[in-house]
Symmetry: C2
């Protein structure tokens, strides 16, 4: 029975873990310092709490954390990895830029453990669904193939460390950028009294986009707080493209504003637009 460490037991991590447990794996995680919701998710998914040296004794370590914590997790695990007699493969599955990945890869390389880049595209797996695509890239992706036997939709992205993260950044940038763009235009139409006309135009001439907004806007609202730093990572990914950096810094600023607005007027307006849109599609 393979032992897979999944850190942390967030919404995505615990859902991935649940699928691996159902597929026959022993799944470890770190509950030290986590709150009640994480502990409940971990228990429901069948994850076992473990100390860092036990984590370092796994076959694979899957890092699934908010982007801003990805590098810190690698540094936190590094001493245990360095001390481990048999090294696990460290797989970073986070929405981080290839530059951030390179730093994490360097941290892991210093411990002697093999490293794979990765990215998760799609929503957390639910019973009855195939689940998200889990891409990995790197020199030796073979050890990750066990995840496919355990029930994940594992795919190898050609191109070495950085390629899977680039794919994730591009895909997430399109999807979450489109939701940000829709939010900007709906809010602007609302400020100038053209919101109903915009809804009618989209219903008539862009029904596929409108259906997407009907679902995507309410889905975004509770996640805006973590999409803001993810947009910053994508701005970093865009590197030499100054125009693209400007666009994603704007998206980040928008999501931060929506996450923080005291009266929730804008998020309420977007949710109401989505409800009206759902009635038109």
């Amino acid at each position: 029975m393979p032992t897979i460490a999944v850190i942390a037991p967030g919404a995505m991590g615990s859902a991935i873990a649940g699928r691996l447990v159902a597929g026959g794996a022993r799944v470890l995680t770190v509950l030290d310092g986590r709150g009640a919701a994480s502990r409940a998710r971990a228990e429901a998914a069948g994850m076992a709490d473990a100390a860092l040296d036990e984590i370092a004794g796994s076959d694979l370590i899957l890092s699934i954390v908010p982007p801003a914590e990805a590098a810190a997790l690698a540094r936190r695990l590094a001493p245990a990895l360095a001390a481990a007699p048999k090294k696990p493969v460290y797989v970073d599955l986070n929405a981080v830029s290839p530059e951030t990945v390179a730093g994490i890869a360097a941290t892991v390389a210093g411990t002697g453990a093999p490293f794979l880049d990765g990215g998760i595209l799609g929503h957390p797996p639910k019973p009855g669904t195939k689940g998200p695509r889990v891409y990995v890239s790197g020199d030796q992706t073979g050890p990750a193939l066990v995840l496919r036997d355990l029930g994940l939709d594992l795919r190898v992205c050609p191109g070495g460390v950085g390629a899977a993260s680039s794919l994730k950044m591009s895909y997430a940038g399109l999807n979450k950028g489109l939701t940000a763009l829709a939010s900007l235009m709906i809010l602007a139409a609302r400020r100038s009294g053209a919101e109903a006309a915009l809804l009618a135009e989209l219903a008539e001439n862009e029904p596929a986009l409108l259906a997407r907004f009907a679902k995507g806007l309410p889905d975004m609202v509770p996640k805006a707080y973590r999409w803001a730093p993810e947009m910053e990572e994508i701005a970093g990914f865009l590197g030499p493209d100054a125009a693209g950096r400007e666009v994603f810094e704007g998206f980040s600023r928008l999501y931060a504003r929506l996450a923080a607005e005291p009266g929730a007027e804008e998020t309420a307006a977007l949710t109401a637009f989505a409800e009206a849109a759902a009635g038109r599609t």
Copy 2:
């Protein structure tokens, strides 16, 4: 027979004029200072060259020019409008911000001529198609309804001067912003070697978006030079929304870059992606 002035005979203006002529209107334009292509388009559409005082004697004047020229056109026509014994209705159909529209409205108000705000959503009319939606807004939209009898898909946008422009800005911002966003992510994936993986992901999981890009990217390339200032207008439209302004300033910078790139590497890459996408959808 109503007399409609359409300025200028660009791709949109001449196509609108052709439809009005087919519908039974006499259509005037100003060819003074225009090049051979404009003259050829005007002739093909059945537009007649006219002096400014003749233009001011029309029933309606439709301003259809690049956004940066909209205010200048109103100033250029103002003396003739002020001198006209019977005032035509001046309809600004350009992709300009409500703030720019307010300035144009003030110029026209000074001549005593009635003013309507407007916006064109969709592509130039072609034989056999219904054509774009032509929205007008303002206090008295009645005189514009003759355009419907003449074959245009004329619609009244509630909300007074500024509402039709707001609708146009919101709709154009969504459409042209989405094409800019796709360009940014495709070019970034290409720089990091993940372009083929992104194409495969979109073909599998976002076929409607990919089909849109297959058509939208090649359509954008020859228009990027005028989309750049249009994105600036939309940034102005976003007014108090600093995040939105940042996003559309980035889009403007992108389109300016694509319009100006000496070796055309990026536009060639986007066209090639669109061709590959067309083969997958």
